[in-house]
């Protein structure tokens, strides 16, 4: 990761993608799509690790470089900043079910950086953000439908 003015940095997010035991079908498609996002300048991958949780809940963490044949991910791996500390592993793995494997990604939302910078230059401060779960949208729509039906 090259040095960068913090004011031009896009929001940084993380994802933990779990692959439950028996539902692991790695075809290379994930890497392909990830590389496409990077190539398009949508995101910059800051860190990536692979977690494995055994049936007893013990967690093993591995570097992307240790994941075997990386293919085109080699280039991406060389640019990782190793932001996550060892103490982050337990916190991240808390979300995993026993017997699963998970990929952890930390990435900068490059697409949002110019907007965020403009907002900062205008004196704005981010005071809240978040993601609206699809479940919440469904619940809202169902409540809306119920209101229309009953007229309440």
């Amino acid at each position: 990761m090259s040095e960068q003015d913090v004011s031009t940095l896009g929001p940084v997010d993380f994802l933990v993608i779990e692959f439950p035991a028996g539902h692991q079908n790695f075809t290379g498609e994930i890497a392909e799509e990830l590389l496409a996002l990077v190539a398009a300048g949508t995101i910059r991958v800051i860190d990536a690790i692979i977690l494995t949780k055994d049936e007893d809940g013990n967690v093993d963490a591995a570097e992307l470089a240790d994941a075997g044949e990386l293919g085109e991910l080699v280039e991406l791996e060389a640019e990782l900043a190793e932001l996550l500390a060892a103490e982050d592993v337990a916190n991240l793995a808390n979300a995993m079910d026993p017997g699963s494997v998970a990929g952890v990604l930390v990435y900068e939302n490059l697409w949002a950086a110019p907007f965020a910078s403009a907002a900062r230059r205008a004196g704005g401060q981010l005071i809240a953000n978040g993601r609206i779960p699809i479940q919440a949208i469904i619940a809202s729509l169902e409540a809306d439908d119920a209101l229309e039906t009953t007229g309440a």
């Binding site: 591995a62 190793e82 060892a86 916190n91 808390n94 779960p133 949208i137």
Partner: protein, 53 residues
Amino acid sequence: MPLRAARVGRVGVIGAPVAKAAVVASAVSPGPSPIAKAAVVGAAVTPGRRRRI
């Protein structure tokens, strides 16, 4: 396969145990049909839809 030494002994950035998020697929499956439900959600976020207050 251990993590690289550079990760050890540093202060973490995650801060607290991460809770498992609800899996979207399971939320879309109940009800009339997953496809119908997905269509409804899609309609809810369609440009031009106006909120009623």
